[in-house]
């Protein structure tokens, strides 16, 4: 928290108005909300709207030659003409959808607010709910309780010497259980932020407050892996990516990266040495990884993620996406649509393209041939960002 000469910090502001809003704080602690039932966005089918394609869209991918984008208010839009015209899909919920992934032209999943995971078998035209926050909360609690049970059993058998270690583990799990229970008190409140499927059966979804789930049957059943990650503070998990060598990586809050080489059964935690959010990770060359995140922070590891160095920052805007192509090098996309490029596998970066006023949530490399452009989604829907090939940059 900084107090700059001209302003007030939000927290100071909060204290100032705390009296006025005391009534809120009190009510926040009361258990049953008094307001009527109102609309439950988990139960409300998405409104069919001609404005859907211009809404806030957050995730975009391809299903065969079809573009599929998801966004606020349960909106899923499809385009079969490379993004020129869009049609809206039938979606049973109106929560924000954050991420979408297809393993074939027909089969795909989307994840979003209130712990929702949807599945489509018809290339995105219609979707069904396969998980929501209510189930997600139970999965998390069940997982943590099971782990606590397992540790307790182990501790009972363990020698005194080992006992201390078990005690510490139990304490951590206990805190996490408390967190999870408190969170579940708000109902299905925790969003899923990203998902990735290996094939039609095996898939993962990650989200806020340390949620991570795995399915082995294409989304019919899910298990929580939350306890498998070393994440005592239930940090948000922002993205899950598959590295070329098959390693799974999850990035999250406080500069955390977790790797798994056994399809999520076990994870090892790494810290890049940064207090803020990481939003993604990309391989710049074999064993060289580039992690990027909040406020233009970029980190590089030349040893497969063991140790990290901070790369000189050249933008204050958060980095929301990255692509790596032979001829382009590593290209990072900032929240405002600016492009930042590295020609030396992430050692140095420079602004390659300034954009003003855009608001990008995520990007997809142009999937329809050699054209150098990106499909970007964000406020206002889908837009295409042409990559100007500045030769000077190649020197």
């Amino acid at each position: 928290m900084r107090i700059d000469g001209s302003g007030i910090t939000a927290r100071a502001g909060m204290f100032a108005v705390a009296g006025v809003f005391a009534v809120f704080s009190l009510l926040a602690h009361s258990e049953a909300p008094k307001a009527g039932k109102g609309i439950d966005l988990l139960e409300m089918p998405a409104l069919q709207s001609p404005k859907a394609a211009h809404s806030l869209l957050l995730g975009v991918t391809t299903a065969g030659s079809r573009l599929v984008a998801v966004g606020e208010r349960g909106i899923v839009v499809l385009s079969d003409d490379q993004g020129q015209t869009w049609t809206q899909a039938q979606v049973p919920v109106s929560v924000t959808l954050n991420a979408v992934h297809f393993v074939s032209p027909d089969l795909g999943w989307a994840a979003g607010g209130d712990g929702v995971i949807l599945r489509t078998d018809d290339g995105g035209r219609s979707w069904t709910k396969r998980l929501d926050g209510n189930q997600a909360n139970e999965l998390v609690l069940a997982d943590l309780k099971a782990r606590i049970g397992a540790v307790e059993t182990a501790a009972a058998r363990a020698s005194d010497e080992e006992g201390g270690r078990f005690q510490a583990a139990l304490e951590t799990l206990g805190f996490r259980l408390e967190d999870a229970e408190a969170g579940a008190g708000f109902g299905p409140s925790r969003p899923l932020l990203a998902l990735w499927f290996k094939d039609e059966r095996l898939g993962f979804a990650v989200g806020a407050f340390g949620q991570i789930f795995r399915t082995d049957d294409g989304g019919e059943h899910w298990i929580s892996l939350a306890g498998a990650l070393e994440n005592p503070d239930s940090l948000h998990l922002n993205a899950i990516v598959r590295l070329p060598d098959g390693t799974l990586a999850v990035v999250g809050e406080r500069g955390m990266i977790w790797f798994s080489s056994d399809e999520g059964a076990s994870w090892r935690a790494n810290e890049v040495g940064y207090d803020g959010h990481l939003y993604g990770l990309i391989q710049a060359e074999p064993a060289t990884l580039v992690a990027f995140g909040f406020a233009g922070n970029v980190f590089r590891s030349a040893d497969g993620g063991q140790t990290w160095v901070k790369v000189a920052r050249i933008s204050e805007k958060s980095i929301v996406g990255a692509i790596h192509q032979e001829d382009l090098g590593v290209l990072l996309v900032a929240r405002n649509g600016s492009l930042i490029r590295s020609r030396d596998a992430g050692k140095t970066f420079s602004i390659s393209q300034q954009t003003v006023g855009a608001s990008v949530a995520s990007v997809l490399p142009w999937p329809f041939g050699a054209e150098r452009k990106l499909v970007a989604v964000g406020h206002g829907g889908v837009s295409m960002i042409s990559i100007t090939d500045d030769r000077s940059d190649r020197k």
């Binding site: 000469g5 939000a10 705390a18 008094k34 439950d40 409104l47 957050l58 954050n98």
Partner: protein, 810 residues
Amino acid sequence: MSQKEPDAGDADLVHHSVIKRFEQFFELQFERFRLPALFFFGIASVFFAFQAVQLEPEASFQKMVPSSHPFIQNFLAYENELRPLGNVVRIVVENRKGEIYTPEFLNTLKQVTDEVFYIPGVSRGGMKSVWTPNVVWNEVTEDGFVAGQIIPPTFDGSLEAAGQVRTNVARAGIVGTLVANDHRSAVILAPLQEVDPETGEKLDYARLSQRLEESVRDKYASEDVNIRIVGFAKIVGDLIEGAAAIGGFFGITFALTVVVLWLYSRCWRSTLATVFCCSLAVIWQLGVVRLLGLGLDPYSILVPFLTFAIGVSHAVQNISTMAVERMNGRSNIEAAKATFRVLFIPGSIALLCNAVGFSTLLVIDIGVIRELAISASIGVGVIIFTKMFLLPVLMSYLGVSPAALAHQARRMRGGHRWAHVVARVTDKRMAWGIVAAGAVVLALGHTASRDLKIGDLDPGAPELRVDSRYNIDNAFVVEHYSTSSDVFVVMVKTEPGECGAYPVAATVDQLQWHMENVPGVEGTSSLFSAMKKVLAGQNGGDLRWESLTRNRYSSNAAHRLLPSELFNSDCSMVPVLIFLEDHKAETLIRVVDAVQRFAAEHGSDGIEFELAAGNAGIEAATNSVIKQSKPLMLGLEYAIVALLVLWEFKSWRVTVCIMLPLFITSVLCEGLMAMLGLGVKVATLPVIALGIGIGVDYGIYIYNKLEHYLEKGLALKDAYVETLKTTGGAVALTGVMLALGVATWIFSDIKFQADMGLLLTFMFLWNMFGAVVMIPALASLLIGNRGKGAGGGIAVTGTMASPKALQANP
């Protein structure tokens, strides 16, 4: 049959015995009452004049809306809380030379902000501009949540500091609201207080508007800086200014009236006496209005014109009767008595019809229309005094000048060829032709009127002209800012303290999304639109978090950062702003329907949707009241006027003869409105009532004379020729007088006054035409030559055969 002895009126008095006695009493006492009457009128006039001069132009928002409509009730219940959203003045300061981020311009903006701060009526705490400390940017940085003023207290006027302002403006997200989309102008937003909390005085819109002009526009507008001012208060201010200006038109109307009256009578005595009496009527009317505690708003300021015009139009009958009586050799006093006797019944009935016509406007639950109805009825009421009593008294003293008598003699000697031509409409074939033509005109009018819309159709402030300075300023704001001048507000009511809760959030968000998909809706905004932005901000600007949350800690934390005008003080109401493309009736109906459908489906005990505030919400209420009241008002008006006519003439056939032309005129008027793009609204609905109420005068005067001659046994055609000879000119003059009285409004700066003037002029002239042509034609078909008597004709309506008519036959 003698034409020299128009033993007028008696036939009438036969079937109005009470009135007859009343009339006879005054007639008998006429001479004795002359001096006391003058004395009484003198004293009363001084008193009313004293009252009238204290009247001040005003315009009140509450009076222009249907205050008992549920929409308005809901709005009034939250009026204070909605004020920062509603009664706001926006002062746009534009840099003509470029963007606003120069030290000089920012300094000017500061001066204007300070200037506005000290204008009485401005709610200082709610004022916003890039200079006020309540407008902050906030941003999540690696160091936490940072916030600050757009222009920090440390601003030193340097170029760098001015550049920093640009950054702050961008991150505060005020482009489109406080700063123009093109960054070339900035807004000072000043909410107003309708009642001064300290003095308890009502906001004086005229003074506020004047102050804005003097100490803001006049003072700061220059080659480099342009000032534009929009907001309800400015509309009201401009209305008051425009209303005051229309006072000037009264002079023109007055002068024109004098000229026309003189041309008609060639008698200065009667001309001046008439104008004097009618001016007294205006003074009395204004005096009574003031005594009743009513004000002079832009609508009721038109009533003096009407009073004057109606007075003059009736007095024309006095002038002509007086001249005729004098021609017949009666003394001034006897002629005045005769005038009183002849005109008392038809004049009073006609004026009563006027008053009734106006009073049917009372069914419309809109303050200004009701006040218009009341003050117009008062106007008509005082005419009965000044014109029925005072004018004959005055004329008995003044007499008619010899020149005027000579003029009258010439007129009566004339061949009256035109009267014979016009009277041909009573020939059966001609009459059928006229009626057929009337039917065609009616059909055409009806076809055209099917396009008639309810409500205001022009963009911007419909009260003012499209090219008025206000509407030009308003168009600028609409073009350069992301705001619409047409805002429809839905108030979402919750349990106290629950306005930010998730179920409310989800429901409101869906309402917004549903409404954004209604054609005509440009966008929406609410507490939750802002809350989503803050939630994203609190999560590092991650757009995936720009979403509602069920997590009460998160939503409360976001809620605390939001401006308090987005919800009410005990957090039991969230206004949802729906921005519209226009305020056309269809758009408003679509929006109201969509909200009500949504409310029916998703409303619950804890989440109620209350319509409606915002100018568009209020207009929707006004439209619905107008739409509902229109058939009721017209039905009542036709029924009552028809009953009065029936009472006067004791014949349904006569009633049809008189009412049918009026009906054709009203339908034509609606057709004309549709073609001119005028909707049925607060301003135009009264016109229809006024048109019928005043239009019936012609019919009453014409048929009264016609009946007189018929009862004397003349054939219809001859009777009509006689009618035209004696009263035809006066009727034509009446139409001209009435039209003159209202035609000057067409040049008013106030759009609705111009609309009213145009339509009334049309109705007055067309009603006159209808009366002169249609009434005899219809009479020929419906009544025939019922008065032929000894001429061998059989009375068509036996019941109507009056002893007097038989008696009158030689």
